[in-house]
């Protein structure tokens, strides 16, 4: 097994710690096998693996819905078995796939559940609930409805709001987005990432979807089928340096391409390219000698309009303006700096000219990148990332050999 080291949370500390935790059921099934796992404060850890791998059992042990057979679990340094389960659970948000919303309570009262349990006055708890509806991107007017009057995606958002109501430091999410359609799932994932950037909770999220794990996770724990970890590390490391064939197989065939989404386009060199305004003539376009001309709105307006092939211009009147010539669609552009190399590469693949169009935040053309330029940027980024990975892996091994696991915390 390859144990990767990585920095802890906001203050570099662990919030949840599993120490040699095993869960064995009476029929002899071992769901979780001698698990050591540290969840850093303020980060999103995703537990991912095939069904029956123990990821959900791991999650449910944190709020004592399942009790471990061996080992102990520390929350904020304290053994959770020393705490009253009901009290412990009120400090841990819980979101599940089937939402588990109370059908007999309005959306508002569902969200107000834990604050009311904690003794808040109902009016205050409901005000808090309305506030949270906005936080999760819902209209507060929905608060008076019952859960069955909402769509699946809306219900799932209410589930997240309910989990956040008492502002718990920890959020447990069990396949939270698996029951909604792919479009809504994408929106919910984006929302979670945005929420997490704002709230900085310690999130443990279970999924069987490696794409989801890579998208929302700061750290991914990938399970073997029988309750042990195959690899633990940031998602880009699972893609770039899978610990073994099992991990490589699980993260999928196109892991090289997907890893590019973790590389920024800052280091990508751009060419000025054959960019001409729509008012330029066919003759001036042919004079560039380029096989493809990128047409923009005008001298001042640098938004891209499309690609015009030089051979389409050859037989035309020399004075005809480019705006009167049929242009081919450019697919999509990438925002230089903000978008990843994956987006830039995709833009190049989709472009008829085989060249990606780089734009600034305002959508104005900054330059273009060819496959050659992209390849150079990818190689540079990979070399840099591999060096980081290798150093951290070596550090982790040294730490494991030199010290007890506890001493590294």
């Amino acid at each position: 097994m390859l144990w990767d080291a990585f920095a802890g949370g906001a203050e570099g500390r662990w919030l949840i710690t599993f120490e040699g935790v095993t869960k064995r059921y009476p029929d002899g099934t071992v769901a979780v096998d001698d698990l050591d796992l540290d969840v850093p404060d303020g980060k999103t850890m995703v537990l991912v693996g095939p069904s029956g791998c123990g990821k959900t059992t791991t999650l449910r042990m944190i709020n004592r819905l399942v009790e471990p057979s061996e080992g102990r679990i520390l929350l904020n340094g304290d053994d959770i078995r020393q705490q009253d389960p009901a009290r412990l659970r009120r400090g841990i948000g819980y979101v599940i796939q089937q939402t588990g919303l109370f059908p007999h309570r309005t959306v508002e009262d569902n969200i107000a559940t834990v604050p009311v349990l904690n003794g808040w006055r109902r009016a205050k708890a409901r005000a808090r609930a309305r506030e949270l509806l906005t936080t999760v991107g819902l209209d507060p007017a929905l608060g008076k409805r019952y859960p069955h009057q909402l769509s699946g995606g809306q219900q799932q958002r209410v589930g997240v709001a309910r989990a956040l109501a008492a502002d718990p430091p920890v959020l447990l999410m069990d396949e939270p987005f698996s029951a909604v359609d792919p479009v809504v799932r994408g929106q919910l994932q984006e929302q979670l990432i945005a929420l997490q950037n704002e709230l900085r909770k310690t999130i443990v999220l279970v999924t069987h979807d490696i794409e989801e794990a890579i998208k929302v996770g700061d750290i991914v724990a990938l399970y073997h089928p029988h309750g042990t970890l195959a690899q633990l590390g940031p998602p880009e490391r699972l893609l770039g340096a899978p610990a073994d064939d099992y991990v490589a197989g699980f993260v999928g065939f196109d892991r090289g391409i997907r890893r590019l989404s973790f590389f920024r386009t800052d280091g990508l060199s751009l060419s000025a390219g054959p960019v001409l305004p729509a008012t330029a003539t066919a003759a001036s376009a042919l004079k560039t000698g380029e096989p493809w001309i990128l047409v923009v709105g005008g001298e001042e307006d640098l938004t891209p309009r499309g690609w015009v092939p030089a051979d389409r211009l050859a037989g035309l009147d020399a004075d005809i303006q480019l705006k009167d010539v049929a242009a081919d669609s450019f697919g999509h552009t990438f925002t230089v700096g903000d978008d990843s190399l994956r987006a830039a590469l995709d833009a190049a693949v989709l472009s008829p000219a085989g060249v990606a169009i780089g734009v600034d935040a305002g959508g104005r053309v900054v330059g273009v990148a060819s496959f050659d330029q992209l390849r150079a940027a990818v190689q540079a980024a990979q070399v840099a990332q591999d060096a980081v990975d290798a150093r951290e892996i070596l550090d982790a091994q040294a730490a494991q050999q030199g010290q007890s696991p506890g001493a590294t915390r």
């Binding site: 009901a86 599940i96 007999h104 834990v114």
Partner: protein, 231 residues
């Protein structure tokens, strides 16, 4: 049919209807009060339910008159005898619905309640029982309707009810009295049933707009058992 008989005997008909209503309504309410704790136990400890259900069904098979007679040595020819008998019968109808209602609460809902920090008792009272209410009331409706109808049998052991009109009408060979008794029993049962429908709607505003009868699948309503009792 002698219509003029009705107004001239209205005060007696009304008195008998009130007595019948008392027997037919109080008994299933006591039955409900007993079914709730029993049902909670049966829903939680699953082994407890099958033997209980067998026992309850055996009791339900006892003819009502036989049960009343069996209770006479202990309680005499009193209301108590009839109320106990009817309570036992309605218990047989209500208990399965309490158990099914509690078992019908979706697992994710129960799990979410626990995970949010509800203790077992609080979860039962504020989550599980409210969600089981439509199914429990469905059972109560059958219990009330059959008790209202069965209360008339108590007349045979001398406990006053609308059953008096059947016996008296038969002895005097006066069908009008029998028809009036029959009409009043049915009317009473229908009124009680409608009241319970209203109670359910008031208690479960969340179920409106949804399939209103979601909790009343035929398996739980057990309406086919009630008429057998009347004979």
């Amino acid at each position: 049919m002698m219509w003029s008989w009705i107004p001239s005997n209205w005060s007696e008909i009304w008195e008998l209807t009130r007595e019948n209503a008392f027997l037919g309504i109080v008994s299933p309410l006591i039955g409900l009060a007993i079914s709730l704790p029993l049902g909670v136990v049966a829903a939680r400890w699953r082994w407890f339910y099958p033997p209980t259900l067998v026992f309850v069904n055996v009791i339900y098979a006892i003819p009502s008159l036989a049960l009343f007679i069996a209770l006479i040595p202990a309680f005499g020819l009193t209301d108590t005898t009839v109320v106990i008998g009817l309570t036992v019968f309605s218990l047989c109808v209500i208990l399965p619905n309490v158990v099914e209602g509690l078992r019908g609460v979706p697992r994710p809902v129960k799990q979410a309640a626990t995970a949010m920090g509800y203790g077992p008792l609080r979860r039962l009272i504020t989550v599980e029982l409210p969600l089981a209410t439509p199914v429990i009331i469905a059972g109560l409706r059958v219990g009330v309707v059959s008790s209202v109808s069965l209360a008339s049998v108590g007349q045979i052991i001398g406990v006053s009810s609308l059953g008096y009109l059947f016996i008296d009408g038969e002895q005097r060979d006066f069908p009008t009295e029998i028809y009036v008794g029959l009409f009043m029993v049915i009317a009473l049962a229908v009124v009680c049933d409608l009241i319970l429908v209203g109670v359910r709607r008031a208690l479960t505003p969340w179920a409106s707009g949804r399939n209103r009868a979601a909790g009343e699948r035929p398996r739980w309503v057990l309406t086919q058992r009630a008429p057998a009792r009347v004979s």
